[in-house]
Amino acid sequence: YHSSYSGSENRIRVAFFLNVGHAVPIIGTETGIFSNGLGNQTVIETKLFDSGPQVIESLFANSIDIAYVGPGPAINGFLKSENKGIKILSGAASGGASFIVHPDSSISTVKDFPGKRIAAPQIGNSQDVSLRTYLSENGLKPAEKGGSVVVFNIANPDIYTLFVKGEIDAAWVPEPWATILVNELGGKRLFYEEELWPDKQFASVLLIGRSDFIEKHPQIIQNWISSHMETVDRINSNPNESELIFNQFLKKTLGKSLPDQIVSESLANLEITSDPISNSIYIFAERADSLGYLGRHGYDLEGIFYDAKETEP
C-alpha cells in the first residue's frame, strides 16, 4: 500500500476513529454493508486514526481517499486547500458532547464560571470552539485574553486524570468521555451541547472526501454514500445490535472494550444521521473565525458540500 497505488481503479481508503460517534464506518464495514454496496471489484481499506489534523494531512498527502472527521478539521482542510482539496460528502453524527461539572465544584450556572478552571480537548475542535464561544456569548473571556476563566486544552484521558485530582472544575468533552466522567467520577452533566444549537442539532462527525478522488471515481463515491445511508438506517433501527457490534469491534482491534453501560449511554447521547446539518457548519465556521482559528485573511465556504450533479458519471 504505497502511495504509488493511490490512483488505482478499484480501491478506496477510508479513515475513521474508534469513537462512538464513528459508528457508521464501524458498523457499516462490520456488517458488510459497504462491501456489498461497493461490489467485489472495489477493495476497501480502512485506516484507524485518532486525530483530525492527521486525517487532513493524510488526505493532502494522498494517503487516504475519504474520512470521517469532525467539522473543525473538515473546515480547516477545505480552507487550507483553497477550497479545492476536499469536500463534505455527508453527515455521520450529530450531538454527543456535554458540559460536565466536577462533583466538588460550585458551578451550577454560567454565572459561576469566573475564576474557574475548565478543560476542553484540542484547540480548534468542536468542543473547544463551543466552549470559547459559549464563554464570549456570556460575556466571559479566557485567561490568556485577560479574562477570568482558565481554559485548558488537553487530551481527554488527561482531562480524566485532572478530574480525579480535582484540578479542574468542569470539562466540555465528547462521548464516551462525558458519560465516563459522570458514571465513574460522579460528575454532573450541566447541559448537553445540542441544547445550545438551533433545532438541538449540530454536525459532530462528517464524511469528507478528497476532491480529485471524487472526480476520478464518482461511482465509487456514489456507492459509498448510499451504503453510508443504509448503515445510518440500520443503526437507528437496531440500537442494541449496534452497541454489540461496536464493542465486538473494539475487542477485535484493541483486545479491549468499554463497559457495555458506557457504550449504550454514549450512543444514546448522540444522533446518527446522514444529514450534514449544513446550517450548523456555517455557524461553526463563523464561530471558529471569530476565535481567530481560520487564518488572517477571512474565509469562504463556497463549494464545501459535494454536489453529485457536478460529477455525474
Binding site: H2, P157, L254
Partner: protein, 251 residues
Amino acid sequence: MAKYLGKKIAFYVILVAVWQVVAMADIWPNTIFPSPSEVAEDLAYGAADGSLFYGIATSMWRLIVGLSIAIAGGVVLGIFMARVEIVNQTIGSLVLGLQSIPSIAWVPIAILWFGLTDSGIIFVTAIGAIFAVTINTYTGVKNIDPNYIAAARNMGAKGSQLVTYVLIPAAFPYMISGFKQGWAFAWRGVIGAELLFSFLGLGFLLNVGRQLNDVSQVIAIMIVIMGMGILIDGFVFKRIENKVMYRWGLR
C-alpha cells in the same frame, strides 16, 4: 555479572514491592495509579491472547530496520563532521538543531513522503535515533589520540582504510554509547510514530490503553518497552562494552 544478579533481582523486587505498597495506600485511585498486580494481569492477558507478542514483533522489526539505518547514517555523518571542518560548521550545526525537533513534528513529513506505511514509521524511527549516533560518533572521533591517527597515516592508511581500521575502532568506546542512546531514541521514535499513525505495534497498544482510559494497560506497555530496553542493554550493549573496555585496559 553473575555476582550482581542476586542484587539486581532484589532491586527490582523491592521496586515492585514499593509500588504495590504505594498503590495500596490509596493516595490515588487505581484508575490512574494501578497496582503492579493489575498491571501484571493485563500483561498476562495480552500475552495469553498473543496481541502483546504480535505488537512486540511488529515494533521490534521497525525498530531494528530504523536503528540500522540510523547507525549506518549516523556513523558516516559523525565521522565526516569530526574530520571535515566545513561539514561540521554547516551540516553539523544543523544536526543539533534537527535533534531538538520532537518526532511528532516529523510525522507529517513522513506521511507526505512515505504515506501511511511501515516506511513512514521507520523514517520517524531512524530520524529520532540518527542524531544521538552522529553526535557520539563525532565526539568519539574528535577525541581520538592524535598519535594514533598520525601513526596510521604514517603507515600508509588513508581514506576508507583510515576510517575502518583506525577511526571507528578508536572511537568505538564512545560509539557504543551512541548506539545505546540510538536504541532508546529509536524506541521512542517507533512508539511515537505508531501512536500517531495508529498502525499496529506497541505504540498503538499504548494509545489504545490511553483512549480506553485503561491506565494499567498503558503501564503494562511501558514496562514491556522498558523491559526490552533493559534486556537488550544487558545482552547486547553491556557485552560489547565489556569486551571493548577490556581491550583498552579499562576493566
